[in-house]
Symmetry: C2
Subunit: 194 residues, 2 copies
Amino acid sequence: MTGQEAGKVRVDLGLIHFPVMNKNQETIGSAVTNLDLHDIARAAKTFGIDSLYVVTPYKDQQKLYQEVLDHWLTGHGAQYNSKRGEALSLVHICDDLEQLINTVTEKWQQRPTVLSTCAQKRHTSVWTFDRVREKIKNEECFLILLGTAWGLAPEVLESGDGILPPINGAGNYNHLSVRSAAAIVLDRLLGERG
Amino acid sequence: MTGQEAGKVRVDLGLIHFPVMNKNQETIGSAVTNLDLHDIARAAKTFGIDSLYVVTPYKDQQKLYQEVLDHWLTGHGAQYNSKRGEALSLVHICDDLEQLINTVTEKWQQRPTVLSTCAQKRHTSVWTFDRVREKIKNEECFLILLGTAWGLAPEVLESGDGILPPINGAGNYNHLSVRSAAAIVLDRLLGERG
C-alpha cells in the first residue's frame, strides 16, 4: 500500500471554493472561512482522513489560508494549542479540482473514486453511505468533495463518479453548514457504530 | 402530548457557557461564538429539535446573543436569508442550568432525562446512542447538554442523569469542535439510517 500511515484510511477531503453556487444559483468563488479550516481539519483528524485539500484559484486567498496554517503549525498558535496544529497538518492548498485529482492520484498511485456532497437529492446517486463505508474498509481510495457557500456548482457534481445522499432530518430544512455536513459525512463513513 | 409541534421530537439542546473548562482544567465562563449559534441551530432545525437553549449568566453576553438573534429574526438578516431565521427561531437564552431545567420541565410538563456530552470516556455512562434513539422514538423527553470551551465542568457532568459516549474516530485525537460534535450527536440520535 502506498502513502498510507498507520490508523489512516485512503480517503481525502476537498473543500471547494470555486466553482460553487451563491444563494441565487449563480457560480461564484467563495472566500476563506477560518472556522471551516479548523472544524473540518479537526473532524478529519478524528476520523483518520489522510488529507484535507483546500481548493481555491485566488492567490490572495491561498496566502490567507497559508498564514492561518503557519500560525498554528509553527507560530504562536503552535505553542498555545498544539492540538490545532495536529489537525491542521492535514491541510494542503490546491489551485483547482484538476490539480487536486492529479495530486491524490499520484499519492495513491491510482485515481480515487471522486464523490460529491449535495444538500439536494440527485436521482443518479447510487452511492449510499453504507456502500462507501464498506469500500473504505476494503482499502479503496476515495476523494470526497465539499462545497462552500451554497454548495458545489453543477459542473463539479457532474464531473465526479457519484454523489453522496443528502443528510436529511425530520422535515424539509436542508441548510446545514459545510462544517456540520462534513462532520456527519465523516461519522457516517468512518465513525464507530452502536 | 404537550407543547409539541408536528415533525418535532421532545428533545432540547443546552449550549452551556458556564460552568465549563479551559485548557488548564480550570472552571471558566466562555464568550459568545457567533458560529456556534448558527451551526447548532441549523443542525437542530434539520433534525427536528424543539429548542436550543443558550446558557450564560453574563448579561452582556446575553445581550450580544440577543442582538445576533434580532438581526436574523427581524432585522436585515431576515430579508437577506430567511433560512437562518427559521433555524435561529429555535434559540432561547437562559441564565443557568437550573433555569433551563425548570423551563423545559414546565414546557413538557415533566422533567426530561438530562444527558451531558463529553469527549472523554466516563465509565458510569450506560446511555448508548442507540438506546437514547429508541427512547426518543417512544416520545420520551431529553435535554442534551453541550459544553463550549474545553467542555462541561465536572459538576454539570455529575448533575444530570447520564453522559453520552464520546465520539471516537480512528485514533486518540478527541478534539472535535462543539459544532461538529453537536451535528454528529444529532445525526446519531435522529438521522436517517442506511
